[in-house]
């Protein structure tokens, strides 16, 4: 039976993945900001078959509170088999361009807060000598694009941090999974016009769930994004600059 910690458990992708673990009878500990939503999610997971579900508040940018929050979760679960880091925001790129305060907030939400929780989680799982740390990054972190480079920079920082962490923790038998979703139809992207490349959070959830079982290191979800990003990252700068991606 898996003991699973989810940070940012009200994320659509996190909730969809939690449902898969609940169906398998996992024991879950959920951290998120909105306790009302979290309560409904917890009830839902219990009905679906979770052995136990606990919830607690989490403030991504209150860095000082992270260690205690994670310590409490670890104590309640007994051990952490899987931790999924799923919190984050998608800010307004244009607004961030004219206001460093907004850009700073985006970097805190999506990069610094992730590094903060990973610091504590890495040390705990390394001591535990088993488990998987799975973090939702993004294809946006593969190459900065004018349409979302603040978000991209944050996700890119996370992806690189995870590469180093993976190498470090492999010596301790701990797996680190970087999840790079493409376009996902969630509340975070509700203002976007949806097209052929868009998928629902349940599709991403299936890939996350399977990839953890297989011990994968870095996945693109769905997998066709690996090819798309290979092309995008290899477009010469002169040509890339002419595009309006």
């Amino acid at each position: 039976m898996n003991r699973v910690l989810i940070i940012g458990a009200t994320s659509a992708i996190a909730e969809a993945t939690a449902r898969l673990w609940a169906t398998e009878g996992a024991q879950l500990y959920l951290l998120a900001r909105d306790q009302e939503r979290l309560a409904a999610i917890a009830d839902d997971l219990a009905v679906r078959g979770a052995t136990a579900v606990q919830t607690a508040p989490f403030d991504a940018t209150a860095f000082g509170t992270h260690e205690a929050a994670i310590a409490h979760a670890h104590a309640q679960l007994g051990a952490i088999d899987i931790v999924l880091v799923a919190h984050g925001t998608l800010g307004d790129q244009r607004a961030c361009e004219s206001s460093f305060e907004l850009a700073h907030r985006e970097l805190n939400n999506n990069a610094v807060s992730v590094i903060s929780v990973l610091t504590h989680l890495a040390n705990r799982l390394a001591a535990q000598k088993h488990g998987t740390i799975a973090v939702i990054s993004s294809v946006a972190g593969d190459r900065g694009r004018q349409s979302n480079y603040i978000y991209g920079a944050a996700k890119g920082a996370v992806s690189i941090f995870l590469q180093g962490l993976r190498q470090r923790l492999s010596k301790a038998n701990v797996h680190v999974l970087t999840i790079k979703p493409g376009f996902v139809d969630t509340p975070m992207t509700r203002h976007f016009k949806k097209g052929l490349l868009w998928v629902g959070p349940d599709v991403i959830a299936k890939h996350i769930h399977a990839s953890i079982i297989k011990g994968r290191s870095e996945i693109y979800a769905p997998p066709f994004w690996r090819l798309i990003m290979f092309i995008i990252t290899n477009i010469p700068t002169k040509i890339f600059n002419k595009l309006s991606l």
């Binding site: 909105d34 409904a40 009830d43 509340p187």
Partner: protein, 433 residues
């Protein structure tokens, strides 16, 4: 953004809200202009259309389940499909299910949907023990047959016009197997299929597929499908995804010629007069769900579905008249479904009455609207009425004549602060406040 019902007619521009908590729902409702709550948008016409639409997709949680009683409580945005996926493997089924599982619990209650077992088991709300409703003034109420019963009987079948259904408790049906024992009976005309319905009224599930284009002595030729839950067998849900229809095919794809050919083939493929086999529950209850977006087959103009019920005494004659009229018009109905309905319940705007219900599809073109207006006269003449969840064009006078309790419905709405808060394009068209 563009919004429409399952028939893709009519289409409007609407502001869509996606609240994630009850608090957010209350805030959306408190705002000045009225809105309509929308589940998965499977109603065919404009029942879930308004300038402001509250989409319940984020309110899709199971809240509690009692395995001794089968009572399941869930948020109104939870879908029948999810209920089946989680509970069929555990030995539970829906007490009543319509022809698609892609509807929400809230939608099932608001339309008081019926299935192939109405004659024995009634409609969906007969199996709902209570609902929690968010009223137009921000207050919440629990309504049930014993608590605020007038609100319960107005909300069940009330098309979302009494308030927002937040959650509901439904009694699931215990099953030993997910398979259905399906019997198919081939019937050569209307008289024979109506007789067959009566002869097989002890069957748990029954539905007939009618060839609406067959004329003369073949008028009303049908395949009657009867079903029972198998006593032994697996408890499984098919994980296969539906085939998507990704684009709008040319409008001429479904025309008189192709539909007539399909109907003939479908009727002829059943060789024997009566045959029985075991099938999984999905193809028995949800044959159309296999083709996701089948509503696109009608092309860009969209289509209208016309479903009416005729009281028992007038059934045979009334159906004969209507079928003759449609066959003569040549306006092909791709799918025509005939069911026997049993006793009505006490819900104010509930559609079923004891008799026969026929559901037909027509392409949304001007000549069809004329035809349907004439059919309205025939239905009204026979003392029947039209199903609101399928309706996109019924007139106010037709509605108020055939739904006798509409005034009582309005009184309940007024008392529970729904006026000015919950309204749809359909409710305005039908002359409700």
């Amino acid at each position: 953004m563009e919004a429409h019902g399952w028939g893709r007619y009519p289409r409007i521009n609407a502001a869509v809200l996606y609240p994630a908590t009850h608090r957010e729902c209350a805030a959306d409702i408190a705002s000045a202009s009225p809105l309509i709550v929308r589940g998965l948008g499977r109603s065919y016409g404009d029942s879930a259309l308004a300038e402001r639409i509250l989409d319940t997709r984020r309110l899709d949680h199971f809240l509690a389940f009692d395995s001794k009683t089968g009572l399941l409580t869930c948020s109104a945005g939870q879908t029948l499909d999810q209920i089946l996926r989680v509970f069929v493997p555990r030995g539970w089924f829906l007490p009543v299910t319509p022809g698609t599982r892609y509807i929400t619990v809230g939608g099932a209650i608001a339309s008081d949907v019926h299935g192939k077992n109405h004659h024995a088991d009634g409609s969906f709300c007969n199996h709902v023990t209570q609902v929690e409703i968010l009223l137009g003034n921000g207050e919440r109420r629990i309504a049930s047959p014993t608590e605020h019963p007038e609100l319960f009987h107005a909300t069940c079948g009330g098309m979302g016009l009494t308030g927002m259904i937040l959650s509901a408790t439904v009694r699931l049906l215990p099953i030993a197997s997910s398979q259905i024992i399906e019997t198919t009976v081939k019937l050569r005309d209307l008289e024979h299929v109506l007789t067959a319905f009566e002869e097989n009224s002890a069957a748990t599930y029954s539905v007939a597929w009618i060839d609406c284009l067959a004329r003369g002595k073949h008028l009303g030729r049908s395949l009657l499908m009867l079903g029972e839950h198998a006593e032994t067998g697996p408890l499984t849900v098919n994980a296969k995804q539906a085939w998507p229809v990704p684009i709008d095919p040319p409008p001429s794809l479904l025309n008189h010629g192709t539909v007539a050919a399909f109907n003939t083939l479908y009727y002829q493929k059943t060789q024997r007069a009566r045959s029985t086999r075991h099938v999984a529950f999905e193809p028995f209850f949800y044959p159309l769900d296999r083709l996701a977006n089948w509503n696109r087959l009608y092309g860009k103009p969209g289509f209208v579905q016309y479903q009416f019920v005729l009281p028992h005494e007038n059934g045979p004659r009334g159906l004969q008249t209507i079928l003759e009229y449609i066959a003569e018009s040549g306006r092909g109905s791709f799918l025509a479904v005939l069911k026997l309905l049993g006793k009505p319940n006490g819900n104010l705007l509930s559609f079923p009455m004891m008799g026969y219900t026929l559901a037909l599809d027509f392409r949304a073109e001007p000549a069809v609207f004329e035809l349907l207006a004439k059919l309205d006269h025939l239905v009204l003449e026979q003392g029947g009425r039209i199903y609101l969840a399928k309706d996109a064009r019924m007139s106010e006078s037709m509605f108020k004549t055939s739904y006798r309790k509409w005034q009582e419905f309005e009184e309940v709405r007024s008392r529970y602060h729904a006026h000015g808060k919950f309204a749809s394009i359909q409710s305005k068209r039908l002359g409700l406040q």
